[in-house]
Amino acid sequence: MRGRLTFTAGCVLVAAVLLVAAVSLVWLPYDPSDTTGGRLAPPGGEHLLGTDKLGRDLLTQLMVGARIALTVGIGSVLVGGLIGVTAGLLAGFATRWLDDVLSAALDIVIAFPTLLLAMLVVAAREASLGSAVLAIGLAMSGVVARLTRVLVKQVLTQDYITASRTSGTSWPRVVAEHVLPNIAPTLLVNLALQLGLAVLAEAALSYLGLGPPPPNASWGRLLQEAQATVLTAPTGAIAPGVLLVVLVVGVNLVADGLRDLADPTRRRSR
Amino acid sequence: MTPLEVAGLSVRRADGRDLVRDLSFSLAPGERLGLIGESGSGKSLTALAVMGLLPAGMTAHGSVLLDGTQMVGTPDRKLNRVRGRAAAVVFQEPLTALDPLMRVGRQLAWPIRRRRGLRGAALRAAVQDALAEVRLPERVAAAYPHEISGGQRQRAAIAMALACEPAVLIADEPTTALDVTVQSEVLALLDGLVAGRGMALLFITHDLAVVADVADRVVVLKDGSMVESGRTRDIVREPRHAYTRSLVDSAWALEGELDRLAP
C-alpha cells in the first residue's frame, strides 16, 4: 500500500517535468535567445518568473532546461545501460582470466573521475548535448556493469539455471528466459537511480561550463548564472533548484515502486 | 529456583498476527525438554523470545522467567546481564554463529573473561580447557572458523555457550546442518556435558528420533500453538493429538524400511 503511494507520487512528479518538456517543444512564452525583457526583472507582469541578468525570460529557460535534463538523463542511461549491461553479462558468464581482466577494467572505469572523463570527451569532441550524454553514460557504465556482473553470478548459482541446462536449453535462451528476468528488477531500480544521478551530473557539468552550450538552457547553467545575483533576485537560483529536486526525487520514487511491481513475490497473489 | 518458567507466551508480528500463541512450559534444574515442530511452528521464535532476542517488528507477550528474571518487557540493557549467565544458545548454523574474522580462541576467550574475570596465562589455559572439554584439539584456538570443519565449528559454538556456565542451555536444531556421523558425535557430546554440569536443556528440533534420544519430556508445537506435551516415551508410544500422531506415524513409516533391512 505504501509502495503504491510513493510510486504514484513519483509518477506525478516525473510526469509534471515530462509535460513541461513536451510543451517546450511546441510552445514557449518567449524565444530562448530573446534578451529584450530587461535585466533581472522581478517575477510577475510580462515575465511570470522574471528575467535573468541578460534579460532572458526565466520560465522559457526553465522549460527548455527540463527538455535538456530529460534528454541527457534518458540518453546517458541508455548509453550507460547498454554498455554496462553488455559488459556485465560478459563478465558474469566469464570465468578465470577473462573475468579478472573485465573486472579490472570495470574498476578503472569506476575509479576514473567523471569530471575528468567529461573534460576529455569535451576536448575530443566539443561541448554539446551529445558530449554530455556520452561522458555521463560512459561514467555510469562501470557501476552498471559491476552490478550486472554480481547479479548474473548470483543467478547462475541457482538450481533453476542447472535445471534449465539439463532441459536442453541453450545459453542464449537461458539468458533471455531466466537470467535477464531475474536481474531486471534490481537493474531497473538501479538504472532509475542512475537517471537521477545523471540529471544531477548534467547540472554539475553545465555549472562548470562543460555542458551543452546555449541556446540549450540547462538548469545547472541557470544556477551558475544566478549565483552572483542570488541575494537580489533569488528566483533565478531557487526555481531551477526546485525543479532539479522535483525530477530527481520523482525518479527515485518511481525506482522504488518499480522494484515492487516487477517482483511477483511482492505482488499480491489473486 | 526454576531455571525457566514460560507462561502464556505469545509472539506477535507488527501486523497483529500471533506467530506463537499462549505457550506455557517450565524446565526444572537438570531437566531436558524437547520442543518439536515443523517449519513455521514457531519453535525457533520461542527460543529467541526466551532470550529476549526477537527480531525487530516482533513483540513478546506473557511471561518468561529465566532464572528469576522477567525477560518480557524488560529493557535490553538489563537483559545483557542475564543472557549467557542464565541461558546460552547453540544455533543451527555454526558458520553464522561464529564471527568469521576472529580466531576461535579469541571468540572463546571473550565470554570466559567476562564471566570469570581471567586474564593472560590463566585465560589462555581456560580457553584450552574449554576446547578440550568439547574434544577439540589445541590448534583450533588459532584457526579461523572457515578453516575448521562444520562439526568442529559446532563444538566450538557449544564451548562458547558453556563458557558462561549457564543454568539453561538452549539448543536450536544444533545438528541439523551436520552429517549423520558428526550429528551422533555432537549429540553424544552435548548429552555428556549437560549431564555432567546438571544443566537444564531446551532442545529444539524437527526430528522425532533425535528428540527421543535426548529429551525426557516434549512439547509438540503446530502453527505457533502447543498441541500436546508430556513424557517423550508416552508421546511417541501413545500420541493423543491427531497432529502428533501424524508426526509419529511419518517418522515410523520413514524408518520402517530401514528397520526392515537393518534391524
Binding site: S164, R165, G168, N182 | G150, A209, R233, A253, A262
Partner: protein
C-alpha cells in the same frame, strides 16, 4: 552386480550378458578441479533399468559431483560416463530427455519469475518434444502435457497459472518433479530430494517418487545421507567415502550386513526411534 567390500575388489560397471541392461553408468571416473586434489577417484557405478540406485556419503564425499557427471553437466577428468552403453555427448537431446534431475532445495530450483506452467513445460520446448504445428496447437499440447505431469505429482491443473512462491516447500518439490517427468525420462537423478522438507511432507514425497518409478517405468538415482529414504526407494546402494566407492551392491546386503567400517558407522549414527534412549 559385484559387491566390493572392505577387501577392495574393484566393482565392475559394464553389463554382463543376460543381466538387465545398464541405462547409465560411470566407468572408472575421476574428477578434479583444476589444480585441486581429486574429488572422485576411480568410481564405477551402474544404474540398472528398474532398480533404483542410492549414492550415500557425507558432505564433501563427492556424491553431488558424481551426480553432475551422470547428468552430463561436468566431464570426468578420467574414465567415461556411458548412456545406453555409449559415451555421453554434450548436447545429445536423447540423453537430456532420458535423464532428468530433481534438486535438494525447492526454493532455488524453480525460477521465481516464471509461472509454474512455463517452468514445467521448459523441457518440452527446449528439447523440441512438441509436435510440429501452429503456435496455438503447440501451446495446447504443452498445456495438456503440463496438466498431465502436474496430475501425476498430485497437483491440480490450475497450479500452472500460479507462481512458485504461492506454494509450500513440499508442493514446490512436486512441481520440480513434474518438470523432471514431463519429458517422460527413463532416469531421475535426485540430489537429496527430501532433506529440505518437513517429516510429514518428506514421507509423501518419498511415496510419490516410489509410485512414479513404478507407473512411469522410471529408474530413480538418489543422492542422500538419509538411509531410510535409501531403503525405501533404491534396490542398489553405493557408499562413497572421500571420493571413492567403498562398498556397493543390493541395498538389502549393504545395509543389512555392512562389510565396510564406514558403512557400519553410518548405520549406527542414524537417529532411529527404534533405538531411541528415552523410549526404552
Amino acid at each position: 552386480m559385484t559387491r566390493a567390500g572392505a577387501g577392495g575388489r574393484a566393482p565392475s560397471a559394464g553389463p554382463t550378458s543376460g543381466a538387465p541392461p545398464a541405462v547409465l553408468a560411470a566407468h572408472e571416473v575421476g574428477f578434479a578441479y583444476r589444480g585441486g586434489r581429486p574429488v572422485l577417484e576411480d568410481v564405477s557405478v551402474t544404474v540398472t533399468a528398474g532398480r533404483g540406485l542410492a549414492l550415500v556419503g557425507e558432505s564433501g564425499a563427492g556424491k553431488t559431483t558424481l551426480l553432475r557427471l551422470l547428468l552430463g553437466l561436468d566431464r570426468p577428468t578420467s574414465g567415461r560416463v556411458l548412456f545406453d552403453g555409449a559415451a555421453v555427448a554434450p548436447g545429445d537431446r536423447a540423453f537430456r530427455r532420458a535423464v532428468q534431475p530433481v534438486f535438494q532445495d525447492p526454493y532455488s530450483s524453480l525460477d521465481p519469475r516464471r509461472r509454474v506452467g512455463r517452468i514445467v513445460s521448459e523441457p518440452l520446448r527446449s528439447l523440441g518434444l512438441l509436435a510440429p504445428g501452429s503456435r496455438a496447437e503447440r501451446r495446447d499440447e504443452a498445456g495438456r502435457r503440463v496438466a498431465e505431469a502436474l496430475a501425476s505429482v498430485g497437483l491440480p491443473p490450475d497450479a500452472a497459472r500460479r507462481y512458485p512462491h504461492e506454494f509450500s516447500g513440499g508442493q514446490r518439490q512436486r512441481i520440480a518433479i513434474a518438470r523432471a517427468v514431463v519429458s517422460r525420462p527413463r532416469v531421475l537423478l535426485a540430489d537429496e530430494p527430501v532433506s529440505a522438507l518437513d517429516v510429514t511432507t518428506r514421507i509423501r514425497v518419498v511415496e510419490l517418487l516410489g509410485r512414479l518409478a513404478e507407473s512411469h517405468g522410471l529408474t530413480v538415482v538418489v543422492v542422500s545421507h538419509d538411509l531410510s529414504v535409501v531403503a525405501a526407494l533404491c534396490a542398489d546402494t553405493a557408499i562413497i567415502e572421500r571420493g571413492r566407492v567403498v562398498e556397493q551392491g543390493p541395498t538389502a546386503d549393504v545395509l543389512g550386513s555392512p562389510a565396510h567400517p564406514y558403512t557400519r558407522k553410518l548405520l549406527e549414527s542414524v537417529p532411529r526411534l527404534s533405538r531411541a534412549a528415552r523410549l526404552r
